[in-house]
Structure formats: structure tokens, C-alpha cells
């Protein structure tokens, strides 16, 4: 099937690799490519080790980028080399996928570490233990309703006998590489120059989420791969006829159904993309009169994703709207607040240890993309005379959302959403930019002088975009930091969690955000989700007994263990919150080191309703029993109990 498979560009490409320019040719040989990648991987590992032992950021960032550029350069050269064959470029895409997985793999080869990874780890353990779907996850309430990743992991883990983390890594490297291959297939289908397809893959691989965010063991990583292949299959269906069109579309529908069971937001974005590209086919049909009805495959995907997701939300994932709405609502409110000067924003790179060049490149990348985007649209006159004009215009509209997402990065809640959108919108940008740029660069001899700038620009894009993605604590190991998702996960808390899980399996616990993460993942505990209606953080904020309503809530909900990190009163969390993002806790003022008073923590050792049953160097586990000591409780907020 030509589809899957080989795009029009490849057909024009020579069958076998021929000698190209010296350095490019040398770098692009498979042996050199893998040897340099091996050296790069060791350099990155060394950078991580330096960071782990508290090395200077300027040093470990520099070493990291040296290793990273060493790894990606040969694959990129192979993709962009003039005489690469289609097969050679495909190998280049695969190797680029593999080497861009290395930084995340080396970040935590021992087990799950990122916030979402720990939540999904628990979800897989729940599935393997209970054998039923849709179990509520204590860390991220909604992920149990989208069990696609968990089913896949449980199946591979259970059938192969591998441990959890090797299985998760295997699936993630598979989806990571397959995602890039899909972009390459799209490039082959849409762009006239084979190097354009390679450049599209490179541009996509250098998006802010590809290196770290979309490589974590989380449902969006798997969904992203499905999303890209759905788009690729729909596009190839559109360009085929008869049996081939039907079969490709059927496969795209199948992947869409799998996507619905895997991730909510990806399905929504897919529906939106299908709508945008479908509408662009309808709106611009007079511009390209040939091939009427090209909107139909997109309409099929739009209908499948929209109706499928609606049915899924109505039938299974009832909490989807409630989960997503606060992010959207808060982000818009914060953005409006910023625009009106009311504040509520976040400072870019605040408290960051990232080197200046990374920050500058991070701030330069979006304007550079805007400039390139509008220049290509202008110079190609909206892809005039391009065979895939209508699709490209649709993808350009979709890609332009990247620019709309940029202001949201200035708001705390919007930044989460903006970061998640880049993996999608960069697809549109990569495809729309790669074609015209590759033609402009390589078609005319007089432009050859610019080619020297290509590696520099791409390197700058990689460095800047990665820097604009996840923060230092996520990207690099380091010494213990209180209140960091990744650097607060210590051998001590993991050991405590395991012991806790053995002694008190499936217990309900109250603790801070960071201890909860470990206890839920490794101790099979159910953590309380603090909120204004369930103010468990009040236990930590004042050295007084909890209010009767909180006692009632804790007792009736079966929360029996309180786990206290003794460092709560000594530090302010790196992330900025002790329990949850919306907690009503002021940052410490003046000489204060923490908003949690030591007296409140000390009091747990003295009150009759708590018995300390387990202690480690930094953690204390208390068994709560309010009823046994006659603690007053009542069942409505703010109620008072008259003492006898």
C-alpha cells in the first residue's frame, strides 16, 4: 500500500543512497550515527550524574546539550541529506525517535518518577489486582475512566512477565518512535520534497513537549501516537480510492476508538483538527476544484471522535467535564486578570536555574516560528499550486493555535494546558513550515549560503523549546528538594510507602501532596483530596483540634492514617503548594521558612486522637481515632458542638 507507506516524495527519490557532501555523508552512515549516539548518551548520563551530586547548573546544562546535539545531529543529517533514499530517511526518523527518548529514559531508569507516572503506575497495579476497569485513581481522579494505557501495560506486563517499569519503558519508546514515523509519513504524503518530510519530522521532534513531556508514562503519550497515526491514515485515505481508501479509513476509525478509551483531551483535539481540516476542504474547494469530497474522511473521523467521546463521557467518564472545566475556566480568568492588570500571572523562568542562553532561546523560539509561519504562508501564497493545498491550509489554521497558546503560559493554570497543546499544534507548524523551507533552501543554488544556518537554527530551536517545556527538577536529577514532585521522591519515602502498604493495605490517608504521591503509588493507599469542602490541610495549619465538621468528614470517609513529613515546617515547597494548587495558604513572610507551624506538627504527638505507630527519620505515621476519645463531630460545615 503506497499509503503507509511511501509518499509521493519518496517515489521521486533515488533507490539507493549515493555519495553526498563529505561531513553530511559521514555523519549519516549508520555506524557513525549509533557510535555518536552512544557517546552522546554517556555524556547525558554524566550530566545527570553531575546534577545529582549538586553540580553547577551552568556545567550540567552545557554537558547535557553537548551530548544531546551529538546524538541528534547524525539522525537529522540523515533525514536532511540530499541523496538519502526513502528507506534511509525512514531509518533516520526511527533513530531520531530512539535518541530523543534517551534523555527521559536516563532521567529515571529505576522506576516511575513524574507526578503523572506515579498515578498511572498505581492505575496499572489496580487493574492487575482487581481485573476490572474504571477504578478511581487517588492521585488523578479521572485516569481510571480512560484505561487504554493501563490495559495495554497490564497486558504486556502480565503476558511477558516483565516488571512494570521495563514494560512501561517499552511501550513509551514504541509510541515515541511511532509518533515521529507518523509525522514523517504525513510529510511524505503532503510535501513535494522528500527532504521536506525529513524536516517536518525534525521540527516536530524539537517541539517543547517531545523530549520530556510526551515521553513520560502517561495516557497522553500513548494517545499522542494514536492521534498522529489517525491523522496520517486519514490523509492517506483521502489520497487513495476504492478499497484502499476504505481500509485506511477503517484503520483510522479503529485507532480513534482506541484513542477515546485512552485520553479525553487528545480525542477533543482530534475532533477539532478534523473539523478544521474538513472545513478548510469545504471552504477552499473552489481554489482547488479537483478531488471533490476530500472532506468526507475528515467528517468520518470528526463524527467518530465527537460522538464516541460523548458516549464515553455519558456512559463511563462522567467526571470528565468537571475535571477539565476548572483548567479552562481558571486559565481564562487568569488571562483576563493579567490583561486588566489585576495580576494573577506567573513569571516566566521564575526561580529557574536554567542558563541564560536556554531562557533566551526559549523566548526567541515562538517569535521565530511566527515569523517563519507567516513568511511561508506569504511566499507560497497560501500553498498555491500545491497538490495538498486545502489540507495544508487546514493544518496551518490548526498549527496557528500554537501562537494563541503562548499568552496562556503566563498564567498558572493556563500554562498546564498550553504545554499540553504544543505536541498537537506543532504538527501543523512542522508540516506547513517544512515543505516551503525545504524547497526554498535546496531548490535554488543561490540560497545555499543559508544552509549553514540550518543546523544552528535547529539546534537553537531544540534548546529553546526544551527549555520552555518542563522545569529543571523534572529534567535533571538533583539533591533532595522539599516540595518537588521529582526530587521529593526519596528512598526513604518509597521504603516507608512499601512498609505502609504491607502493614495497612488499601488504607485511607491524609498527608501532603508529595508524601501522598509515594504512598498512593507504592503503598496502595487512598489519599484524601483536599479542597475548600474537605479542608484536611487545616490539620497542619494550626496547633488546634480539627473542626467538628472535618472530624465528621474524616471519620465517615474512613481516613484512618495521618502521615507527616517533619520537613513541612522547615521549607516552602519548590512547586509552591503543600497540598493542592488552590490551597488557601500564604507563602511564608519575613523570617518564616514555612507556612506550616512546627507546633501544629508537634501537637500530633500529644493529642489523644492520634497514635504514632511508625516513625522514620523524616516521616511519622499516626493512626487516627476520633471516636475512641469522644472528639466532637457534626455533619454540616461550620457547625458547632456544645461541649458537655
Amino acid at each position: 500500500m503506497r499509503m503507509v507507506f511511501i509518499g509521493q516524495g519518496t517515489a521521486a527519490a533515488p533507490r539507493r543512497a549515493r555519495p553526498g557532501s563529505g561531513l553530511c555523508r559521514l555523519l549519516a552512515t549508520p555506524e557513525a550515527m549509533w557510535l555518536l549516539a552512544a557517546a552522546g548518551a554517556l555524556i547525558i548520563a554524566a550530566a545527570y550524574r553531575l546534577a545529582q551530586y549538586g553540580g553547577a547548573p551552568s556545567q550540567y546544562y552545557g554537558i547535557f546539550w553537548l551530548g544531546m546535539l551529538l546524538m541528534v545531529t547524525p539522525s537529522t543529517a540523515r533525514l536532511l541529506a540530499k541523496h538519502s533514499s526513502g528507506h534511509s530517511r525512514a531509518l533516520g526518523v526511527l533513530s531520531l525517535g530512539v535518541v530523543t527518548f534517551v534523555p527521559k529514559f536516563l532521567r529515571n531508569p529505576y522506576g516511575p518518577l513524574y507526578h503523572d507516572e506515579l498515578a498511572h503506575f498505581r492505575a496499572v497495579q489496580d487493574l492487575l489486582a482487581s481485573h476490572v476497569l474504571y477504578t478511581r485513581n487517588p492521585t488523578i481522579s479521572i485516569i481510571g475512566d480512560f484505561p487504554g494505557l493501563h490495559i495495554a501495560t497490564a497486558a504486556v506486563q502480565g503476558l511477558s512477565g516483565l516488571a512494570f517499569w521495563p514494560t512501561a519503558t517499552l511501550l513509551m519508546i514504541l509510541t515515541h518512535c511511532a509518533a515521529l514515523v507518523a509525522v514523517f509519513v504525513l510529510g511524505q504524503e503532503l510535501l513535494p520534497d522528500p527532504r521536506g518530510a525529513g524536516l517536518a519530522a525534525v521540527l516536530y521532534a524539537f517541539n517543547p513537549s517531545y523530549l520530556y513531556f510526551d515521553t513520560q508514562f502517561a495516557y497522553e503519550s500513548m494517545a499522542m501516537c494514536l492521534f498522529l497515526w489517525i491523522v496520517a491514515l486519514t490523509l492517506t485515505a483521502l489520497r487513495a480510492a476504492g478499497w484502499q481508501r476504505s481500509s485506511r479509513l477503517a484503520l483510522a476509525v479503529l485507532l480513534t476508538l482506541a484513542g477515546i478509551t485512552t485520553h479525553h483531551l487528545t480525542t477533543l483535539v482530534l475532533a477539532f483538527l478534523s473539523a478544521v481540516v474538513g472545513v478548510s476542504h469545504l471552504v477552499f474547494r473552489r481554489l482547488v476544484p479537483a478531488a471533490h469530497g476530500e472532506w468526507r474522511p475528515w467528517a468520518v473521523i470528526l463524527a467518530t471522535s465527537a460522538v464516541g467521546l460523548l458516549l464515553w463521557v455519558l456512559g463511563v467518564a462522567h467526571d470528565t467535564y468537571d475535571y477539565l472545566q476548572p483548567y479552562v475556566g481558571s486559565a481564562l480568568r487568569e488571562l483576563a486578570g493579567q490583561a486588566s492588570g489585576a495580576g494573577g500571572g506567573r513569571e516566566l523562568y521564575s526561580g529557574s536555574v536554567q542558563p541564560l542562553y536556554e531562557r533566551l532561546l526559549g523566548m526567541l523560539a515562538p517569535p521565530l516560528m511566527i515569523l517563519a509561519f507567516f513568511t511561508t504562508l506569504f511566499t507560497t501564497r497560501g500553498f498555491r499550486d500545491w497538490p495538498a493545498r486545502r489540507t495544508l491550509l487546514g493544518l496551518a489554521c490548526f498549527g496557528a493555535l500554537y501562537f494563541l497558546s503562548i499568552p496562556f503560559i503566563l498564567t498558572p493554570m493556563g500554562a498546564e494546558g498550553a504545554r499540553r497543546s504544543w505536541g498537537f499544534t506543532y504538527l501543523g507548524l512542522a508540516l506547513c513550515l517544512a515543505g516551503p523551507i525545504s524547497i526554498w533552501l535546496w531548490a535554488k543554488r543561490r540560497n545555499r549560503w543559508v544552509i549553514g544556518l540550518v543546523p544552528l537554527t535547529l539546534a537553537g530551536l531544540l534548546v529553546g523549546n526544551t527549555g520552555a517545556g518542563l522545569n529543571d527538577a523534572y529534567r535533571f536529577p538533583g539533591p533532595y528538594r522539599f516540595g518537588s514532585d521529582t526530587r521529593s521522591l526519596t528512598t526513604e519515602v518509597v521504603s516507608l510507602a512499601r512498609v505502609f502498604g504491607e502493614r495497612y493495605p488499601e488504607s485511607r490517608i491524609v498527608s501532603d501532596r508529595y508524601t501522598n504521591l509515594a504512598l498512593v503509588a507504592y503503598g496502595r493507599a487512598f489519599s484524601a483530596s483536599p479542597s475548600l469542602g474537605f479542608r484536611t490541610y487545616d490539620l497542619f495549619l494550626r496547633p488546634t483540634d480539627p473542626e467538628p465538621y472535618l472530624v465528621h468528614e474524616l471519620t465517615t470517609s474512613g481516613y484512618t492514617y495521618l502521615i507527616v513529613d517533619e520537613r513541612l515546617s522547615k521549607f516552602f515547597p519548590l512547586v509552591g503548594s503543600y497540598f493542592e494548587p488552590d490551597e488557601p495558604i500564604q507563602a511564608p513572610q519575613g523570617d518564616q521558612v514555612s507556612a506550616i507551624p512546627q507546633a501544629a506538627l508537634d501537637r500530633f504527638g500529644k493529642v489523644p486522637w492520634a497514635s504514632k505507630v511508625l516513625a522514620t527519620s523524616n516521616y511519622s505515621v499516626y493512626r487516627l481515632n476520633f471516636a475512641a476519645v469522644g472528639m466532637p463531630s457534626c455533619s454540616s460545615p461550620g457547625c458547632q458542638v456544645v461541649q458537655p
Binding site: 522506576g111 504486556v156 478509551t261 516513625a615
Partner: protein
């Protein structure tokens, strides 16, 4: 033999091999075979067989061309996508979602396609009686492949070596003090009679496996009832006996374990409800 027939034969063979891997995987899981046996068959069987079988069925028209790398990637993505669909289907009809049930579900999905592929492959072979001779790979090609494989192996080894340097954040050796025995599941004040001997079983664990050496002190309310120097192997349990107070009501028993050398203090608390009833 024509190229399309060769392709069909090759695809049929690959599909059959992968489906066999899936069958063996399910059987090996049922028989609880060791991991070394299951991994080599489970990975291709689960992550390639369903996608490969259906892709081959869908692309067995003579006019179709396939790029191996691309179609293998798509086969893997399709196989991966099949897993959630099978899982959701099993769950919706009330079947427990176990690895074996998922494996059987995948088999049910894969076998029809495999049969179709094998039938097409056999029919194609019957049409062409004479088998074409395959060109032997040249010495140069072989050397190139060996070099490439060696460079990939070196890359994998480098990544594995680099991975061995990384570890989870370690704040240093730590000790853990907990109740053992009957007190492990302590849920509230312990009801005792006045002056009744109370056994407090304590377990001390060290993260580095070294013996814990130090002093254990038990206070009842504010009065020190017992101080004992101990040397315990990690995870050993030491039972400490104290007498409950004579006065009725709630009393605090505090256990302090002070480690020699570091001076680290670990504390446990216990409430006694002294009553004559």
C-alpha cells in the same frame, strides 16, 4: 516467482510466526513459564501480531507496495490500539480483564486475519510452481550489516551503562521504628487495668541493613519507666514491658529510640485507657 507472490509468501510466513508467538505467549502465561521464555515471544506476539495480520489482509491486493519499517510501525500501533478495545469489550461483557483474557481476546482478533493471509499465500504459491532463487547476500553486505548491528549494540550498552549511574534521590541512611505483633494494627487507646504489665513489641529497621545500636526509653506520661541499651539486627523485634499507671483514665506511653553515634531520635506514642471495668 513474481515479486507479489514472494511478498505474499513472506507476509504469510511473518504473520504465521507472529501469531504463533501470541499463541505460545498465552500458553506460557497460563503455565506460568519463566520470564526468559515469555519475553521473546510476548513482545512480538502482543505488540505486532494483531496489527501485522490485519495489515497484511488489508494490503494483499497486488497493486499495493509497502515499506517494511513504516508498515511494521503501523502494525505495532494497531496492535497497541487493539489492546484497549479488547479490554473494554471484555469488561463490558463482564469478563475479568486479566492478562490471559486479554491474550485470548487478541488471539480471537488475530486468528481470522492469519487464516485469511495463509489462504491467500497458499493460493498464490499454487499459481506459481517454480520457486525463484534468492540472491545470496554479498560478503560486503554481510560485513556492513554486522558493523551496523555492532554499533547499535554499542549504543544500547552505552545507554544501559549510563542508566546504571542514575538512582532515586537518597537522603542518606535512615532508620524506621514501628510497633510489631499485636500492636501493629493499633487503632486507638489500649484498654488496660491499673498496674497491668503491658508488652510493647518494637521493630527497628535500618535502610543499610546495619544493626541498630542505641537506647530505648519508655515514658508513661512524663515519668521515665524504663531505659535500655540495645543492639538489634535490622528488622529484629524487641518486646518491652511496662506497667500501666494505677490512676484510671487516658495515659500517654512514649517510646524514644535514640541511635548511638548519630543521636537520631525516633518516637512512637501509645495511649492507654486505664479502667477497672
Amino acid at each position: 516467482m513474481s515479486a507479489s507472490v514472494l511478498t505474499l509468501r513472506r507476509d504469510g510466513l511473518v504473520t504465521m510466526l507472529l501469531t504463533s508467538c501470541l499463541v505460545v505467549t498465552v500458553l506460557a502465561t497460563l503455565l506460568e513459564a519463566p520470564v526468559v521464555v515469555r519475553v521473546p515471544v510476548a513482545v512480538p506476539g502482543v505488540l505486532l501480531a494483531p496489527g501485522q495480520a490485519w495489515l497484511t489482509v488489508l494490503s494483499r491486493r497486488p497493486d499495493t507496495r509497502r515499506d517494511t519499517l513504516m508498515s511494521t510501525t503501523l502494525a505495532a500501533v494497531l496492535s497497541l490500539a487493539a489492546l484497549p478495545l479488547v479490554g473494554v469489550l471484555l469488561n463490558s461483557v463482564g469478563v475479568l480483564v486479566t492478562p490471559v483474557s486479554l491474550g485470548l481476546g487478541l488471539l480471537a482478533l488475530t486468528l481470522p486475519a492469519t487464516i485469511l493471509v495463509l489462504r491467500a499465500s497458499r493460493m498464490a504459491e499454487e499459481r506459481v510452481a517454480v520457486d525463484a532463487e534468492r540472491p545470496e547476500p554479498s560478503h560486503r553486505t554481510m560485513t556492513r550489516h554486522v558493523l551496523q548491528a555492532a554499533s547499535v549494540a554499542l549504543f544500547v550498552a552505552a545507554v544501559a551503562w549510563g542508566a546504571s549511574w542514575q538512582h532515586i534521590v537518597d537522603t542518606g541512611p535512615f532508620a524506621q521504628l514501628s510497633y510489631a505483633g499485636d500492636l501493629t494494627h493499633l487503632s486507638g487507646p489500649l484498654v488496660v487495668r491499673p498496674s497491668q504489665p503491658v508488652t510493647v513489641p518494637l521493630q527497628l529497621t535500618t535502610s543499610d541493613g546495619q544493626p541498630w545500636v542505641g537506647t530505648i526509653t519508655l515514658r508513661v506520661d512524663t515519668k521515665v519507666e524504663l531505659t535500655r541499651a540495645v543492639r538489634l539486627e535490622s528488622k529484629d523485634v524487641v518486646p518491652i514491658v511496662v506497667s500501666s499507671p494505677r490512676e484510671q483514665g487516658l495515659h500517654d506511653v512514649t517510646t524514644m529510640a535514640t541511635r548511638d553515634g548519630t543521636g537520631e531520635v525516633l518516637i512512637l506514642t501509645l495511649r492507654l485507657r486505664v479502667t477497672t471495668k
